[in-house]
């Protein structure tokens, strides 16, 4: 079990360019979460899929950010027209969602730097 795989590990974009971040959840996990981590804001929830269906995107900035899960083996987070304030570590996590505990297994993250 390789755990949650995120690619790329580092991405540098120029202001106004598009960035696509990829996540491969743990096989068999039904839920996929995206978080953004910065020093100032900490870990911010962005969006959540269950069985590939979007369940909660309340943390997603309404403009420029979108997430998809076209199949059970990967999810993408796309940021259009990136801005310097989008610079952060973007973390993907997956979960089995069984029983009384919801253990999130995080990937190592993608560090996005917008110049």
């Amino acid at each position: 079990n390789a755990g949650v795989i995120q690619t790329p590990r580092h991405k540098v974009t120029g202001k106004g360019q598009e960035a696509t971040l990829w996540c491969e959840p743990i096989s068999g996990h039904s839920a996929v979460f995206w978080y953004r981590q910065t020093i100032v804001q900490g870990l911010e929830f962005l969006t959540y899929f269950r069985n590939q269906a979007p369940i909660d995107d309340s943390g997603m900035p309404k403009e420029r950010f979108s997430a998809q899960m076209p199949n059970q083996s990967h999810s993408t987070l796309k940021i259009q027209s990136t801005q310097p304030q989008d610079s952060a570590v973007y973390l993907c996590a997956s979960s089995l969602e069984t029983g009384a505990q919801n253990t999130l297994y995080f990937g190592a993250g993608t560090r996005l730097s917008v110049l």
């Binding site: 949650v4 979460f33 978080y35 900490g42 870990l43 929830f45 959540y48 269950r50 909660d56 943390g59 973390l91 996590a93 969602e97 029983g99 009384a100 505990q101 919801n102 253990t103 999130l104 297994y105 995080f106 990937g107 190592a108 993250g109």
Partner: protein
């Protein structure tokens, strides 16, 4: 405003001491409280968790003390080792099927 607050922001202890990390929350509906440990360059990993029906949970050298009435909890790291140096996040959710709300973390440094 932060729904989950942690203190202190950073903590330094000597090897063998007990590190105490504090967490408080606003939402009375929060039911599940995991602590995650994060090393530089890695994602957070679940360390230990407690549900609101319990007031104490132990796992190895880690203990959570939970006070539902006061809406706070603490993580005790007993006999701290340099390998415990990491950032610790307190998190909460209303039920297992929801995303977690995280605190800003406590950076712990254990010196030999």
């Amino acid at each position: 405003q932060q729904q989950v607050r942690q203190s202190p922001q950073s903590l330094t202890v000597w090897e063998g001491e007990t590190a105490i990390l504090n967490c408080s929350y606003e939402n009375s509906a929060f039911d599940y409280f995991p602590w995650y440990q994060q090393f530089p360059g890695e994602g957070p990993a679940l360390l230990i968790a407690i549900r609101s029906v319990s007031d104490k949970k132990e796992d190895g050298g880690f203990t959570i003390f939970f006070n539902k009435r006061e809406k706070n909890l603490s993580l005790h790291i007993k006999d701290s080792q340099p390998g415990d140096s990491a950032t610790y996040f307190c998190a909460a959710s209303e039920n297992y099927a929801q995303g977690l709300t995280f605190g800003l973390g406590t950076r712990v440094s254990v010196f030999p």
